[in-house]
Amino acid sequence: MTPLLHDIAHPDPATGAVHDLMRPPEQVMRLSRMGSFFPTRISFLRSLVRRMQRQQWRISRRRFRLDDDGYGDAVYVVDTGSRRYSLVAFSRALDPDKRTDRVIAEAWDTTFTLFDGVPGARDLARLARNVPRQEAGRFRASELVLSRANKSVRLFRSVVAALAAGRQPDVAELATIGYLMRTTAVYGNGKFGIADRACLAARPELSGPFAAEMLSVYLIREFTLDMVDHIARRRGGDAAVPLALPLRRFLGIGNSTGLGMAPFLNSHPILIDHWMQAREYALARTRAVDRATAEEAARFRAVATRASRHLAEWHTDDLRQAGRIRRLCADLRRLITLIDGDGLLESVQPWDRIYRLAEDHLGLEAQELAISLILEVNGPLIDGLEDCMAADRVMEIDPAMDTASLSDILVRHYDWALALDLTQSDALRQFWYVSADKQEPRLGDRYQEPGAEKEMPLDVAVQVQALRDVLRGGKDFRTVADLLLARPDLRHIVRRAQTVARHPYGEIRDSLVAGDCLAIDLLRCKLSFFGAGKFDPRSDRWIRITLFQGAPLRDELTTGHDDDWSFPVKPVAPAATATMDAGAGMVA
């Protein structure tokens, strides 16, 4: 346990006041709130970029062999100062009818691996045979991440056409989508033979949650930007212009994701507890601050103003989310008005007062946005908490616990589950399963579809009530060991409940099999920790997002680019023939 996380779990009198300001799990661990999270400055990709800047990582394009249409391969090498990693990219022609973001896809526009070191010729040959096949290939421990990306066809063609013709693409069109390509899977941790995460645990630069995956996505972003310039140059010759720097910076990398990501929040309670506790402790620390400096107050106003513009540029066709964004915009305007009207930024405990104002008067999305804004301007106070978010412990059973204590755990931490009426058909309507169709995760209707007998164990409330019934059942089990000897089928829920007693922010306090459970709330929560923005639901269980939008480019990591790129907004349209001039078209 890191020293900081130990403080969170065991507050001493000096830090007790901060701990008391933490929002409790019963407030935080609700799907509707988790589905309203925004990225913060301790989200994983922000932490990675800060590390890259702090340690002056150098990224060079070692190989870039693409034909006129952008097909071929490329290698980008990252030098951290102590170790090197390489993104190996393959771009292939793809029949438009075969392009899909679904797991069931069998071909992609581009495929990637993050290689441990710099690949030699034999490595490249082996990777060329396997990486484009993705799940159908086999990999070695030298491959740390496996990924693929498809073009956002609308935007990609439009940008190439504009640059080839000698003009910059339409900024409004860029803002509508926000990326040239979308990753559709980013595999790590031993999938298909790649390196297990345990290999990276001792490497500080990649020990954070999903650090290798985030690095891969950052490099993929660089590749997509270089690719579009390359194709435009081949098409337009001397007439072509490169993508202007502000536009390059404004483009992120998209991600299209569905249910595959969702069970993770259920199956890793210790890790999720660490993420949530770090975020909540960060908020609590800011709420305990006595006064904001004039600089912090000014920065808050600037970030809030920028966030307003960001929200106005947040586009989605999803009617539900579009309605939420409209309400959020109104809430943020109201928040800013109230803050200024009451002089909260100049008051005692300004961040606490702002948070409570949001909690008392505004919707969930605005409350969580307020948290992101507050954390944004308190970097020195909270950035260290990014080191608390990893977790290497596994769930374990305490067989010596007496069953009375186990019953107490259920009452204290699972009151929400015990109170559910599971006789109502809607209480159990959904079931999570893995399809034989390329192992794609899916959600089914228990009463309409086959397969519920193979459901994944996300029915926590059902399991909790079954455990409660056995504990109440009259048979006297002295210890957990005695209980599990007679009822080995309860092993999973017992391990889970005992773990959650020590990691109370690790359990979602809503049923994941209820008819009204929205899988998209799980996806948004996890993606917010990644640092994703511009949530664009395609249904209640599929979402597109943007990563690294506004982030420094690879050459800017060593030039002092500041850590103030949250809530990115579209830049002023550069001059039609703008070149790679760093000063052209800065954000207004």
Partner: protein, 252 residues
């Protein structure tokens, strides 16, 4: 072929689920298999032997083996009329749980005291017990010696003193059940105070830090994957269209 640790543990878990083990026990099967692989043993081969010979488990309320407590310790054997021998994927977690509970809680009855010896009659694939016994030894601060014909493995707390690699390879992969004997003593004052050693990670086995993965016979891997595939639901036109929430094309 070479597979990663995550593939081993996920595949083992799903294969056990595919053979009817409840999720919590399937996780234990994955743990036991991974423990063997990390020590360069054929964990997947041994697991497959067990899954084939132990039969579909009955994970209801009834115990399907007999437990006797004698002056010498515990004696477990298959229940009369039960098919097959003791299943290490059921016995192993239970043994580890009971040993740890006995070591850590004041005994109110002889049946709950820490035994000096445990005998497991007719136990299939005894190598699958090793991870569980290691866990009990480490967490409960026990010195344990586990033996069956051709094999003897010894722990002192969380230290593996005589590893399975010191045993005859043929003794580690058995097709027939054998009698397993376990000798147990408390390890110094740590066990007497009830302090668990769980916070101290066990010494890393030789392969663990290298991350190069494990070699598995291709035929065994395919068998494991066939068992794991039993956990998947056959796709229908409806589930393909609507189950993932993305539509069939998702291409713009």
């Amino acid at each position: 072929m070479r597979v990663s640790a995550n593939e081993i543990e996920t595949g083992a878990r799903k294969a056990a689920q595919g053979c009817g083990y409840a999720y919590g026990l399937a996780v234990e099967a994955a743990f036991a298999t991974g423990w063997l692989c990390r020590r360069d043993l054929d964990g997947v081969g041994i697991l497959l032997t067990c899954l084939k010979s132990a039969g579909r488990p009955k994970h209801g309320q009834r115990q399907d083996w007999l437990r006797q407590v004698t002056a010498h310790g515990w004696h477990w054997q298959p229940a009369a009329g039960a098919s097959g021998g003791l299943d290490p994927l059921r016995i192993g977690p239970a043994l580890a749980d009971l040993l740890e509970a006995a070591a850590k809680t004041p005994a109110k009855a002889p049946t709950a005291s820490l035994p000096a010896a445990v005998r497991l009659e007719s136990c299939h694939a005894p190598s699958l017990l090793l991870g569980f016994v290691a866990r009990a030894a480490g967490r409960a601060g026990l010195d344990i010696s586990l033996s069956w014909p051709g094999a003897r493995i010894v722990w002192r707390g969380d230290a593996l003193i005589v590893p399975p690699a010191a045993c005859s390879p043929h003794a580690l992969i058995l097709r027939e059940p054998v009698t397993v004997d376990c000798a147990i003593t408390r390890h110094g004052e740590d066990a007497a105070s009830g302090t668990s050693t769980v916070s101290a990670p066990p010494p890393a086995p030789a392969n663990q830090g290298q991350g190069i993965g494990y070699r598995v016979a291709l035929r065994d891997w395919r068998r494991l994957m066939r068992l794991a595939a039993r956990t998947m639901v056959e796709s229908t036109a409806q589930s393909r269209l609507a189950g993932a929430g993305a539509g069939l094309v998702e291409n713009d």
